[in-house]
């Protein structure tokens, strides 16, 4: 492997910034937030929680995709610095412009002032950046879309109403801002930053490898089978920010272009393991509406802008929200090493609590999801204490196929009910061949107790989990009835 260089380059404050990790004594898992705050004049980006749950550290990344700059709000507290290589980092300090001693505010900033959207001001920079990203990507967002874009930013003072009004206001007279005017210049800079060779960073006893092609990745994984694969670091980031673990060896796959591919062939969606959830969400809205629904309540926009489907599958968490959906769709996981590729059904891929069958020299390269048959009724549910940006207490995805009024096939996949995502097989068996009506569903509900024995934790008690899981069967019945009425 070529030890290409120890440094990364990105755009900050409109200029190219180069960081040599070894020279500057920086850890490659230094977060973008801490790096920014260490710079003079960059104290506007705040730390509120260090785990991507409050959005106070929101910055916007500009990425060149198909010759267009795409702006994404992200939580800078979870991003390892090398992940911004080749990108434009936009912080709160970059929004206003200054001319002859006068500050010209960005329209987003002015709107928040006019609607009194700031009180203590601590969450404000994060909110401004989230609204700014929305401003760059949308023309006339609905209230629902605004809420969805801002659900990753917590504010304890305002009650959000003023921020909602400010966001609606700024779109009423949308103007071209200085970022639009500077795009040609920034594009040229970003094009110049594009690299193809693996970046190797060795600093402070850590090794951080950043491949750009699938081939490079597979070779690296073969050489370093114990390396931790990181893409959005929305999960791994916590090891650094909260557990203060030193991660000795990392392969960062976030810029492996082939892994971001999303395409449909022969009614099967091929989703690259590195594709960001927000991009997937928008791509599959029509074909896989149930996945779309689940992704809508998955983390926050900032998290979905970084997190990947490969990551959610690979971490095999019992509460990974996409997993029941993949179970209900009979999805498969594509694993690859330098020699071969294999495709495993999702249910066979996950073997236990955060356990999978992946070999050390393999990486997940894609997830394949068949477009459901027209006769299947699929629905996902997420029960959480809070609607948005919450981890499931219980999640579920059901796939029901009726033959007349009788159940022909049924998949009842649950998250949060066992050590890993599991189907309620006993309940499924009972329902198969039965008439799909309230009486049979009510009889089936107690059978969930035979399928699962959930635990109590910080999110909810086991009784609540059991009650909710049973009730979801009734929800499914109601939803199928509603569909028939329509």
């Amino acid at each position: 492997m070529p030890a290409y260089k120890n440094s990364i380059r990105f755009i900050l404050d409109g200029k190219i910034t180069e960081i040599d990790f070894e020279k500057e004594g920086l850890s490659p898992t230094q977060t973008l937030l801490h790096y920014l705050r260490s710079l003079p004049g960059h104290k506007g980006t705040k730390e509120g929680c260090g785990e991507g749950d409050c959005g106070a550290c929101t910055v916007v990344l500009g990425e060149l995709i198909n010759d267009k700059i795409v702006y994404k709000a992200v939580d800078s507290c979870l991003i390892f610095l090398p992940m911004v290589h080749g990108k434009q980092v936009i912080t709160i300090e970059n929004l206003a412009t200054h001319k002859t001693g006068k500050t010209i505010l960005h329209p987003v900033q002015q709107a928040v002032i006019d609607e009194n959207g700031s009180q203590c001001g601590f969450c404000t920079p994060g909110f401004i950046m989230s609204i700014f990203a929305l401003y760059k990507n949308e023309t006339k967002p609905s209230a629902e879309l605004i809420r969805n874009a801002l659900a990753g930013n917590l504010c304890r003072c305002t009650g959000y109403h003023a921020l909602l009004k400010a966001t609606q206001k700024v779109f009423k007279e949308k103007k071209e801002d200085h970022f639009s005017k500077n795009e040609p210049k920034v594009k040229a800079l970003l094009t110049g930053l594009a690299t193809k060779d693996v970046i190797t960073i060795e600093s402070r006893g850590q090794r951080y490898l950043k491949p750009f092609t699938c081939q490079q990745l597979l070779e690296l994984k073969k050489t370093f089978p114990d390396a931790l694969i990181v893409s959005g670091s929305t999960d791994c980031g916590l090891k650094v920010t909260k557990k203060h673990e030193v991660l000795p060896l990392i392969i960062d796959i976030s810029d492996v272009a082939q892994l971001s591919v999303i395409k449909k062939t022969k009614n099967i969606w091929h989703i690259g393991a590195g594709a960001k959830l927000e991009i997937i969400r928008n791509a599959v809205k029509k074909d896989l509406p149930v996945l779309y629904d689940m992704l809508t309540v998955f983390g926050s926009k900032q998290i979905r802008n970084m997190a990947t489907l490969g990551g959610n599958v690979g971490s095999a968490s019992p509460i990974g929200d996409t997993l029941p959906v993949l179970f209900a769709h009979n999805a498969t996981v594509v694993l690859q090493n330098t020699k071969a590729e294999r495709e495993i059904p999702i249910a066979g891929f996950i073997t236990g609590y955060r356990q999978t069958i992946i070999n050390k020299d393999e990486v997940i390269t894609a997830i394949r999801i068949p477009v459901p048959d027209k006769n299947s009724f699929i629905k996902s549910y997420k029960i959480s204490k809070r609607k948005d940006l919450d981890i499931s207490t219980v999640s579920a995805c059901f796939n029901l196929e009726l033959n007349g009024d009788k159940v022909k096939q049924i998949i009842l996949a649950f998250g949060g009910m066992a050590a890993c995502t599991q189907r309620a097989l006993k309940t499924e068996n009972f329902l198969k061949g039965k008439v799909w009506n309230e009486k049979n569903v009510q009889t089936a509900m107690p059978l969930i107790e035979k399928d699962f024995s959930p635990i109590s934790d910080a999110r909810a008690g086991k009784e609540m989990r059991m009650m909710a899981a049973k009730n979801l069967l009734m929800k499914l019945l109601l939803d199928t009835n509603e569909k028939q009425i329509k």
Binding site: G44, S118, L150, L164
Partner: protein
């Protein structure tokens, strides 16, 4: 009277939106700054057997490792009662108690040093929940009582009675800026940049732990990134710890908490368990209420007794109860000391009363709003509180008339009923709840404030006052007040950081009183300056005109001009007048002072006039509950508020909306879960869920009433900080109303605070499976 320039946004808004506003962690350019770290107790209750810090002290980059032995002054930082050691001596009493302090060149070194400390504990029996503390009678102070009439007898005579218990959870403040402090030493002077609602108390405690007089310690608070009561006393600790490390090392030291540590180690809103019994007639008119309020104080007294007192003083909320007994008990537990939180006990006290009203309605088969209306305090009679204060300037009926119409309450009740009849698994609920909140510190001597106003030669004005800015817009209102009183445009006014060297001996910015008290103190200073300038200006006019016709009492300050009202041609621009005053050797700096008149409360008798006045408000909320998942959404909320003559409706609206949503969080999603050892399980936003933008009402209507000025307050306004918090009961009881619809309002749902989806599902399950929590708690007599 000059009008205030109203509806201006927060004075720091531009700094907020550009990221230029500075918080403790943003203070830059401090040379030789050290990182301060606190080593916490991992036990809820344990004896310290032995420890060894020698290895940690020797680590490269470590500048100091301190134990209680290194404290030069008093080892005590209790704000009211001296029962909180600054650093643990021979025992620890909660998980998160400070045992050692470390100062190091970097955070990594400080963390490494902590790992080199060895300490042996001998765990002792710990009480980590309120029911156990009650069972063991582990009181932290003697019980309190407020009583009027003959409650026992009235309960016996009442045609109906009910009793029950309400369990009320705590609440994490979740200010966005975690606790932090920076101490910069200079010779024998310590300047502490604190995130504190009470700079004077911070100053006193820092001086005490350092063993210095107060004049050696200067505390400055520019702004806090949210506080909500969480920084009324507990911000002091970090200031003391940073100062101790600074004192030892001679270097500046900053301490700032990671979110999880803040959540694990600091006090919360007090959990309460309230037992109640009520007597009422066929119409729902209440004749007697008996309350026993039990509060979980945590390991130390902190403000618990004042909080309990406010809970007791709000136990009747907006209702006249002729016979009432309120017993208040605060219990010691091995948890972080619970502390002030917006409402300060008021929410807990009111929650039980609103539960009573709700249950009376269900018992009598009436709409709860009707029961509320029948029991409201009267205008000319039925207007004496259980503690003997008369409810004057009662605005309950004004607010009620407005909201009943604007919310279309009774028509919507019909619509809700129809919806519920048509849906088996989705239910809607509607509730109207009132708030009557007493304004003043119930510790009467705290009702005083100071200010310092300088007018500079160029006509610019610097205002300092004792209040702190935590986002509530206090400084903005102070600027408006100063500008209006001085008759100048607001652009001349600047409010400086709150600093104990500018204004001494101040009270905490708390009890919603910041503007009321500091605004009056600023007015007092401005009045003095106007008097002095008016005298000089009158003399100047007379000198110019050559005759003594201008008198200082006719000099008017208005629109940046100072003129003689009897001869308007005699006028001067404000800055001209200021220049003349300076040249005539006039002091253009004045202090201001204010004490709230006629407030007193006797804790022994439980009687007095603790409040200067009351703020009134009501809310109507409609919710829809999915009874299969326990999820709810707030379809609409109407709020009507009496704020006298609002000084700034934009800011007051922000306070109303923000407090309401914060209350909704407390009532719905914010539950605190502990394990049996006293570990807080949800110590980060991952598991502790405050509301997001998706949780606010889909339709949110806030009205601030006009034309009802408040007598005897600054610019006839009213306090706003806390009262809207308690409007959250509209949502809480609307959820209960929806659940109750499952069995057609025939059974009493089991309900508590917070009503998480877990509580909702369990309540629905109990209703369907035949458990009526109403029947379970009916009194003996009623069963006959």
């Amino acid at each position: 009277m000059n009008k205030v320039q109203s509806q201006i946004p927060h004075e720091s808004a531009q700094h907020h939106v550009t990221g230029q506003s500075v918080y403790i962690n943003d203070i830059d350019h401090v040379a030789n700054l050290l990182h301060g770290r606190i080593v916490y107790s991992p036990h809820a209750h344990a004896r310290i057997v032995s420890y060894d810090i020698s290895k940690a002290r020797k680590l490269k980059g470590v500048k100091a490792v301190l134990t209680y032995k290194d404290i030069p002054g008093h080892n005590n930082i209790g704000p009211v009662v001296h029962d909180e050691p600054c650093l643990a001596v021979d025992k620890v009493e909660f998980i998160g108690q400070a045992v050692f302090l470390i100062a190091a060149e970097t955070e990594d070194v400080a963390r490494a040093a902590e790992k080199l400390i060895s300490i042996q504990y001998e765990p002792l029996e710990a009480i980590t929940d309120l029911p156990t503390a009650i069972r063991k009678k582990n009181l932290i102070a003697p019980p309190r009582k407020i009583e009027t009439g003959n409650t026992t007898q009235a309960l016996k005579k009442a045609p109906h009675s009910l009793k029950g218990t309400l369990v009320i959870g705590g609440q994490e403040h979740w200010y966005l800026e975690t606790h932090a402090a920076l101490c910069v030493p200079d010779e024998d002077h310590y300047k502490v940049y604190a995130s504190s609602q009470n700079p004077t108390e911070t100053q006193i405690l820092v001086a005490e732990v350092l063993g210095l007089p107060s004049n050696c310690v200067e505390v400055e608070v520019k702004r806090m990134g949210g506080a909500f009561g969480g920084k009324e006393t507990q911000g002091n600790h970090y200031a003391c710890w940073a100062a101790l490390l600074s004192c030892k090392t001679g270097q500046p030291v900053r301490i700032s908490l990671f979110r999880d540590d803040d959540q694990k180690t600091t006090g919360k809103r007090h959990p309460f368990i309230i037992d109640y019994e009520v007597g009422f007639d066929d119409k729902g008119v209440i004749s007697a209420v008996d309350f026993v309020q039990n509060a979980n104080a945590g390991y130390a007294t902190d403000l618990s007794m004042a909080i309990l007192e406010r809970a007791m003083l709000h136990a009747e909320n907006a209702y006249y109860i002729p016979n009432m007994r309120i017993i208040g008990r605060a219990y010691k537990t091995n948890l972080p000391s619970n502390t002030a939180y917006r409402g300060f006990g008021g929410p807990q006290g009111m929650a039980a009363m609103e539960t009573i009203i709700d249950r009376i309605a269900r018992t009598l088969g009436k709409d709860a709003t009707e029961i509320r209306f029948r029991n409201f305090y009267g205008i000319s009679d039925r207007n004496i509180t259980p503690y003997g204060q008369m409810v004057e300037n009662n605005r309950l009926f004004t607010v009620y008339d407005k909201i009943i119409r604007s919310s279309d309450y009774y028509n919507r009740r019909e619509v809700v009923n129809k919806f519920n009849a048509a849906h088996k698994y989705a239910k809607r609920g509607l509730a109207l709840t009132p708030v009557k909140f007493g304004i003043s510190f119930t510790t009467s001597f705290l009702n005083q404030a100071g200010a310092l106003v300088h007018i500079y030669k160029d006509g610019s004005v610097l205002v300092s006052h004792g209040g702190t800015e935590m986002g509530q817009g206090l400084h903005t209102k102070i600027m408006q007040i100063a500008a209006a009183e001085l008759g100048v445009s607001i652009h001349r006014i600047k409010v400086g950081p709150t600093n104990t060297s500018k204004v001494p001996n101040t009270s905490p910015t708390a009890a919603s009183s910041g503007t009321d008290m500091n605004g009056m103190a600023v007015k007092n200073a401005v009045d003095k300056l106007k008097e002095r300038i008016a005298e000089v200006v009158a003399a100047h006019f007379n000198e110019k005109a050559g005759k003594n016709s201008s008198r200082k009492e006719n000099i008017i300050f208005e629109n940046d001009v100072i003129y003689d009202s009897t001869n308007k041609k005699r006028c001067l621009a404000f800055e001209e007048a200021v220049t003349i005053a300076y040249l005539k050797q006039t002091s253009l700096s004045a202090t201001g002072y204010y004490r709230t008149p006629d407030v007193n409360f006797n804790r022994e008798t439980g009687k007095g006039k603790p409040f200067h006045y009351y703020t009134f408000a009501m809310a109507v909320a409609e919710v829809e509950v999915d009874i299969l998942t326990g999820h709810h959404k707030i379809l609409r909320t109407d709020i009507v508020f009496d704020l006298g003559d609002s000084i700034n409706k934009l800011i007051d609206r922000g306070q109303i909306e923000g407090a309401f949503i914060q209350g909704v969080g407390w009532c719905t999603t914010e539950d605190m879960k502990y394990d049996k050892n006293g570990n807080l399980l949800n110590h980060s936003p991952d598991t502790y869920k405050i509301p997001t933008i998706s949780d606010i009402p889909e339709d949110f209507r806030v009205t601030i009433l006009d034309g009802i000025p408040n007598p005897n307050t600054i610019r006839r306004s009213k306090a706003v900080g806390e009262p809207p918090f308690m409007l959250c009961f509209s949502v809480w009881l609307a959820i209960k109303d929806a659940i109750s619809a499952v069995t057609n309002h025939k059974k009493e749902p089991a309900f508590s605070i917070p009503a998480t989806n877990e509580v909702i599902l369990s309540a629905v399950d109990s209703l369907i499976n035949g458990i009526d929590s109403h029947k379970a708690t009916k009194t003996q007599r009623e069963k006959k």
